[in-house]
């Protein structure tokens, strides 16, 4: 309790002045000793009145306030050597590598460094694709490959059979199985097939040969002796399959057709060949 002076009177005033929480009072209210009321800070009590929000760390025990820096990957905000907040690069500046241009500002945003489409067709329907693989790496379309296969087949006839008289009589069929080895692309199959038949033609004999129904050679012996092993290799280019899917197979065939046999004409050898090119569709 603090004694209170009376103004102009003797003695003491009966009023009481009491210091409450966190307040200190001194003096008596006289001119010589005036009251001095002093606030006293109670730190533990004050700390309970403060709390952190998003982005702010607060410890009510120590009273330390700090900013919260995200530890998540990709965060560009960090601290410098003095513990101050720091963002690498000036705001709005992006350093680009190969294939990218721009600095990230509204005036020059970061974009892919693309070329000019030089074709009359539209890129929307004719452009190739750039895709992202499972490892996050950009990938272009698979490379274009071509493939070549061949099969040379020779059949000998020791029985020396007679050449059939009827045109385009198929005496044998050569086959060749191929598979599109490309893992990605459908292939157009282009084949060259040729046929070569060895005829023995007695005087006056006739013989013809061809592929399927296309007679391609016809020989008559107009001489005075047997013509032995006369042969001509002929062929043609065809497209047996316009779109062979990746991993799909096709059986190519070559029908050896003989005809016009007369005068004892015989054959002793037939050779067929396939030379096949697979080109991406």
């Amino acid at each position: 309790m603090v004694p209170i002076a009376r103004c102009g009177c003797g003695g003491e005033c009966a009023c009481n002045l009491v210091a409450g929480d966190n307040v200190q009072v001194s003096g008596s209210g006289t001119s010589a000793v005036p009251w001095v009321v002093t606030a006293i800070t109670d730190c533990p009590e004050v700390r309970q009145c403060i709390s952190g929000v998003d982005g702010v760390d607060y410890d009510p025990t120590t009273g330390v306030l700090d900013v919260c820096v995200s530890p998540d990957a990709g965060n560009g905000l960090t601290r410098d050597a003095n513990g101050c907040l720091y963002v690498a690069g000036a705001p709005g500046t992006v350093i680009t590598g190969c294939g990218l241009v721009g600095d990230g500002t509204p005036a020059t945003p970061v974009t892919a460094n693309t070329g000019v489409w030089p074709f009359t067709c539209t890129p929307e329907t004719n452009g190739s694709i750039v895709a992202c693989d499972a490892n996050g790496q950009l990938r272009g379309e698979p490379p274009y490959h071509t493939y070549y296969f061949q099969s040379i087949q020779e059949q000998l006839f020791p029985a020396n059979p007679v050449v059939p008289a009827a045109d385009d009589t198929v005496v044998l069929t050569f086959t060749f199985d191929i598979v599109n080895p490309d893992p990605c692309r459908t292939m157009r199959v282009i084949q060259w097939r040729d046929l070569d038949v060895d005829f023995n033609l007695p005087v006056g004999a006739d013989a013809a040969s061809g592929i399927s129904t296309d007679e391609m050679t016809h020989t008559t012996n107009t001489g005075t002796a047997t013509v032995l092993d006369t042969h001509t290799q002929v062929g043609k280019v065809t497209q047996p399959n316009a779109a062979l899917a990746p991993g799909a197979g096709v059986t190519l065939s070559l029908e050896a057709a003989l005809g016009k046999g007369s005068g004892g004409a015989t054959y002793n050898r037939i050779q067929g060949s396939f030379r096949v090119v697979l080109m991406p569709v």
Binding site: Y148, F149, Q150, S151, I152, Q153, E154, Q155, L156, F157, P158, A159, N160, P161, L172, T173, T175, F176, D177, I178, V179, P181, N200, P202, V203, G223, T224, A225, T226, L228, D229, G249, T251, N268, R269
Partner: protein, 96 residues
């Protein structure tokens, strides 16, 4: 079919076929109807026999040609044709 792309076939009529193809992984060439696959040694033996048979047939044809040409030449000469014409018409050239 061997992995080297070779295939050897024997047919019911005695003919033989040799096939040389580009090897393709996982692709086997089919065996035609009426044929059986044989090994390389069998094929070589049969091919030698086939070529010999063909050569024998052709030798016989040549012999028959010569005999016929000589007979034609003799007949034409006997009929009074000049020798050059008889040879040209008959194809007979021996002794000319």
């Amino acid at each position: 079919m061997a992995g080297d792309g070779m295939q050897y076939l024997l047919f019911g009529d005695g003919s033989i076929r040799g096939v040389s193809s580009t090897p393709q992984e996982g692709v086997a060439q089919r065996v035609p109807d009426g044929a059986v696959e044989i090994d390389r040694d069998q094929f070589v033996t049969l091919a030698e026999q086939a070529r010999q048979a063909i050569a024998d047939q052709q030798d016989a044809a040549r012999t028959a040609d010569v005999q016929r040409q000589e007979a034609d030449y003799t007949a034409l000469s006997t009929a009074g044709l000049p020798e050059d014409l008889a040879r040209r018409l008959s194809g007979w050239s021996v002794g000319g």
